[in-house]
């Protein structure tokens, strides 16, 4: 379970997250919906430890705030930033492998996880040897997902994965997410999105973030105005 207790984040004097408290069940798929600037990215970044915050975050019974940001991925948390953030000087496969190497996974375990990534995202295997700096933006999103999958055995957080994807790639990406969810029933997924309709069918639960405050979306039938 992932739980945020009274989490507040200030960036440049502005409260970007205001006393956010929420708990997310293990193995659920969460859509975090909100307009640009509402605080979606900040929420994910805060869970990763990339912002200065007050409050408390718990993950699997562990006080996450007491754990250095660089040690959080080793708990099984994978994160793909909206702007991909690949290491351009490395190949696609080197990018995907790197979190596993950092976590000192055995080479057998790393190979097993890499094969699983390639099962879910076969197109990555075709571009494995290409420099990550040379892939298109959409392909880069796939690589970032693969990189998150390598280490994210329990929780995967994807920041606006569909943003800027061509329709055909977006469908591929959604298929891959479905395969992923079906192949691992214990995985928790948090996906942010600015379009409220896109993830409605896919998510178990939809959270809405507005001006730094998070609430549950009304059930699908109830929000007809």
């Amino acid at each position: 379970m992932l739980a945020l207790h009274d989490v507040t984040v200030r960036l440049g004097g502005v409260r970007v997250l205001r006393d956010v408290s929420l708990s997310i069940e293990t193995a659920s798929t969460i859509a975090l919906i909100g307009a640009n600037g509402a605080g979606k990215t900040t929420t994910l970044r805060t869970i990763m430890g990339l912002t200065a915050m007050t409050g408390r975050i718990e993950f699997d019974g562990i006080d996450l705030t007491a754990i250095a940001p660089s040690r959080r991925p080793k708990l099984g948390i994978g994160y793909a930033a909206e702007d991909r953030r690949l290491f351009a000087g490395f190949t696609v496969e080197e990018n995907i492998r790197m979190p596993g190497e950092v976590a000192r996974l055995s080479s057998a375990e790393l190979t097993r996880r890499l094969d699983r990534v390639y099962d879910i995202l076969p197109e990555l295997k075709e571009m494995a040897d290409r420099p990550a700096g040379a892939v298109s933006g959409g392909q880069g999103k796939m690589v970032a997902l693969g990189r998150a999958l390598i280490i994210g055995s329990k929780l995967i957080m994807l920041d606006e994965p569909f943003q800027g994807l061509a329709p055909v790639l977006a469908r591929r990406y959604a298929d891959a997410l479905r395969t992923l969810r079906n192949s691992d029933s214990s995985l928790t997924l948090i996906i942010t999105e600015s379009n409220p309709d896109l993830l409605r069918k896919f998510a178990d639960r939809t959270l809405v973030i507005e001006r730094g405050a998070v609430r549950d979306a009304r059930p699908a039938g109830a929000d007809v105005v």
């Binding site: 430890g49 660089s70 991925p73 994160y79 790197m98």
Partner: protein, 301 residues
């Protein structure tokens, strides 16, 4: 200028460039990763020279084998990197990464001043000269010019080995790849689990050791005197700025350019000797503000 003088200038330039490269590449590596322009880098050069010359003098006077001069240089470099560089990064620079560049430079300048005084406290003001390593390798005659093997062959070979070693180390070892990843994108590195603070510390120790190694190697060819660290850091800045910050191969080419420029000036226009590196830097930066090999945005090592 006859052929022999040209050859002499080339030899001088190459051997000098090798030393400058070792110091400059450490500076550029540290900048590439930590984004701190470390003025105290020159102190590691001086400390490497003092440690090698003084310890070497003592052990050779006591009758130890002269070949020990070579492992001593390596040992001095590593010890200074770890024992002096390590704590400086961990306890001082580690606290100032969020500050403005100007403040960071001032802090490293303060460290430089402190270390200058530490050198005077330990070794006083008198020069040290300990040429056992130089004498061990003898001389060679090329184009009718007799030159020391140490300066003409050994120093350039060491520089090339360091250049290749750094490149391979950054590419082939896990730590090297993590250093490269942190250089490219510090935040992305954190999100995949890289302990950035540890990488900073390792990089700084490598950089400081390279400067100290440069000093250790230089101590066999020149008197070790107060102020040698200041001369070297200024020259290294010129090399690094001319090459483009964070450029390893660029630092090698530029060190050679500046080394040769300086040695030709010695024979052709001695008054300009000190000025030549800065004239080259000035000329390059006028045309290419981010350096010969620098790119405007990309962070590279």
């Amino acid at each position: 200028m006859n052929a022999q003088l040209v050859a002499l200038a080339v030899f001088d330039g190459i051997s000098y460039a090798a030393l400058v490269f070792l110091v400059a590449v450490g500076l550029t590596l540290v900048f590439g990763v930590l984004r701190v322009l470390n003025v105290a880098h020159g102190s590691f050069y001086a400390l490497g020279a003092y440690a090698t010359a003084s310890v070497g003098g003592a052990i050779f006077a006591a009758g130890y084998a002269p070949w020990l001069a070579f492992p001593l240089m390596l040992l001095a470099a590593v010890l200074i990197g770890v024992l002096v560089g390590g704590p400086i990064e961990k306890f001082l620079l580690g606290r100032i990464y969020e500050l403005e560049d100007v403040l960071q430079i001032l802090v490293t300048f303060a460290v430089f001043m402190i270390l200058e005084d530490v050198q005077r406290l330990i070794w006083g003001g008198q020069p040290f000269f300990e040429a056992t390593a130089l004498n061990q390798l003898g001389t060679v005659t090329v184009f009718g010019i007799t030159y020391t093997v140490y300066q003409l062959i050994f120093l350039p070979v060491v520089a090339i080995v360091v250049l290749i070693g750094l490149r391979l180390g950054l590419r082939r070892t896990l730590t090297g790849r993590l250093i490269t990843a942190v250089t490219e994108d510090r935040e992305a590195a954190v999100t995949i689990g890289i302990d950035v603070e540890r990488i900073y510390l390792i990089t700084f120790i490598i950089g400081a050791s390279l400067a100290a190694f440069g000093g250790a190697l230089a101590s066999a060819t020149t008197s070790v005197v107060p102020g040698m660290g200041a001369d070297m850091i200024v020259l290294s800045f010129a090399v690094v700025a001319t090459a483009g910050l964070g450029q390893i191969e660029g630092a090698a080419v530029t060190a050679l350019l500046i080394g040769l420029g300086r040695s030709f000036a010695v024979y052709l226009w001695p008054e300009l000797e000190v000025l030549i590196p800065y004239i080259i830097m000035f000329g390059v930066l006028l045309v290419r503000p981010s350096g010969l090999f620098g790119t405007v945005q990309a962070r590279k090592i």
